[in-house]
């Protein structure tokens, strides 16, 4: 990477971050989601602060919290990012930016990282905030360590994967359609039992991070008797469900990031071909 490329990437990262984080929806959507979740009786969020109900182990508690936060807030996350790339054309800013000598690939990566990070800020604030409150409340400072580890191996790869799809798929279909498909898949495909319908749940490509949850964080559900990854008898796509081990967990993270990079490369190619 030349220094000019690095500077282009840094400039678009900074400005895209700034524009996205100022958007009210980026804050309102996760706030409403959490409020709605609490209203309909969000189980774990409440149990965490209830001595009788909460899991015995701090690790189980904060990792379980991450699963709920990620499963819920990713829905808005994908939707909030779906207009970011196509809006350059819609706002008619693209010709000005495209006529600069800045490399379009570097601009795309900067936009991706900047908007993905900005949209993740409220999610991380919610998660780390709750984890911190929990740590203080239960006098378990190591809970924060587990929360950070969960951010690194579950939340970050999952959000980076979702962000790459949300940015680029609307180049080939209308953004509202992408949002409908994405929300539909998230609510249904992520949770449906894999032997009922083909789904990415429990595969290496599961954006909720089944493999790292299972094999890196040793998380087996709040009650400790669930599994999060691996083959399901008589399900399709079982070839994507090796047994969960630390190796397959890192493989799963790698696969998510490689697919994210491939989506960006595809988006870049689609835009270049339109010239």
């Amino acid at each position: 990477m030349t220094s000019q490329t690095a500077r282009t990437l840094g400039a678009s990262l900074r400005y895209e971050f700034r524009m996205q984080i100022r958007k009210r929806a980026v804050w309102i959507v996760p706030a409403l989601t959490v409020a709605l979740f609490l209203l309909i009786g969000g189980s774990l969020l409440r149990d965490l602060f209830d001595k009788g109900e909460r899991p015995a182990e701090a690790r189980t508690a904060v990792v379980g919290l991450a699963v709920q936060v990620l499963a819920l807030l990713s829905i808005g996350y994908g939707c909030l990012l779906a207009d970011r790339l196509i809006r350059d054309d819609r706002l008619r800013v693209a010709p000005v930016l495209d006529a600069t000598p800045a490399r379009p690939g570097a601009r795309l990566v900067g936009k991706y990282l900047g908007t993905a990070a900005a949209t993740a800020v409220p999610i991380l604030a919610v998660y780390l905030g709750l984890a911190a409150v929990y740590a203080v409340h239960t006098g378990a400072p190591h809970a924060l360590g587990w929360a950070l580890a969960t951010c690194a191996v579950v939340i970050a790869p999952g959000l980076l994967f979702v962000a790459a799809l949300a940015l680029t798929v609307p180049l080939i279909m209308p953004a509202p359609l992408f949002r409908v498909i994405f929300v539909g898949y998230w609510l249904w495909g992520n949770v449906a039992a894999p032997d009922m319908m083909p789904t990415l749940a429990r595969t290496l490509i599961h954006p909720l991070g089944g493999y790292p949850l299972d094999a890196l964080l040793d998380f087996h559900g709040i009650d400790g008797d669930d599994t999060w990854a691996g083959p399901v008898p008589s399900a399709t796509l079982n070839f994507l469900r090796p047994d969960p081990t630390p190796t397959t967990a890192w493989l799963s993270i790698t696969v998510l990031l490689v697919l994210a990079a491939a989506a960006l490369a595809g988006g870049h190619a689609v835009r270049a071909r339109r010239a």
């Binding site: 500077r7 282009t8 008619r92 800013v93 010709p95």
Partner: protein
């Protein structure tokens, strides 16, 4: 930067031939590009800005071959481009938007960038609004932001596509003066369908019609195309049936029509001196 174009064709998907075998050389200085809507001006400018690839033909700008990525980047390093129908990010302020474009143009030094952005905000008379979000800017103010971004990084080639659309008369005059002052040793390519903008700023002009070159020469030569073809008639009857009516002014005893026609459209018609607009009409409405 000298622009050399030969055999340039651009056919859009769907089969519209926006440019059809265009040959044109543009020297240093101010250069006007005239043509009706749909003549291909914007397409030509988008090709010169490296945004659109030609279907066939050669384009070199300052000796750089626009068919290669390296050539396009080299041209873009010295390019200022004001697209027709420009957009801005509504969530940035004018100053931030200009700072962002300056960064992408490679103005890396923070102090130099800040200074240049400040100067240009002054030039386009937006200093007072520099820290307001662009969302609230009027069309004319946005256009001035567009002009400022085109002038960042001191371009050697300035391409401005219908820049005066949306400006009020004072702004238009200011902008034309700015362009003329700026030109000097640089190349300024100004496209418009407003003949007056060219008449006031350019010596050299080309006229595009349906993707082809209809005229290439000086403004005077284009004006002379209408010599002996411009007529003035005062009548209280219907306008003359022959020729193109350029203007119709109320006059004692009826209306005074200015008409471009190869021969006197009426026995009462008096020949008058042509202006640039008449030359353009004589050329394009044959």
């Amino acid at each position: 930067m000298r622009i050399e174009i030969s055999g340039l064709t651009k056919t859009y998907r769907g089969g519209v031939a926006a440019l059809d075998g265009l040959d044109l050389t543009v020297p240093t200085g101010m250069f006007g590009l005239l043509g009706a809507n749909g003549a291909g001006k914007t397409t030509l400018m988008r090709i010169l800005a490296g945004l659109v690839r030609p279907t066939s033909g050669q384009v070199t700008v300052g000796g750089h071959d626009m068919s290669t990525g390296a050539g396009r980047t080299a041209v873009q390093r010295g390019l200022g481009y004001l697209p027709q129908d420009l957009g801005v990010y509504p969530d940035l302020t004018a100053r931030q938007f200009l700072d962002y474009v300056a960064l992408l143009k490679g103005v890396d030094d923070r102090m130099a960038r800040r200074r240049r952005v400040g100067e240009l905000l002054e030039v386009v008379a937006l200093t007072g609004d520099a820290d307001r979000r662009l969302r609230g800017f009027s069309g004319g103010m946005r256009q001035r932001v567009g002009i400022a971004q085109a002038l960042l990084a001191d371009p050697r080639l300035l391409i401005v596509d219908e820049p005066t659309a949306g400006l009020d008369p004072q702004e238009r005059i200011r902008f034309r003066t700015l362009l003329s002052q700026f030109a000097g040793q640089r190349t300024v390519l100004l496209s418009t369908h407003i003949v007056d903008d060219i008449a006031q700023t350019c010596r050299d002009v080309a006229v595009l019609a349906r993707g082809r070159l209809a005229f290439r020469g000086t403004v005077d030569e284009l004006t002379h195309r209408a010599r002996g073809q411009v007529w003035s008639i005062v009548t209280d009857g219907p306008p003359p049936a022959e020729g193109t009516v350029v203007s119709a002014l109320p006059h004692e005893g009826g209306t005074r029509y200015r008409v471009v026609a190869p021969a006197a459209p009426d026995p009462r018609a008096r020949p008058v001196e042509p202006a640039l607009e008449d030359g353009y009409l004589a050329l394009t409405t044959r």
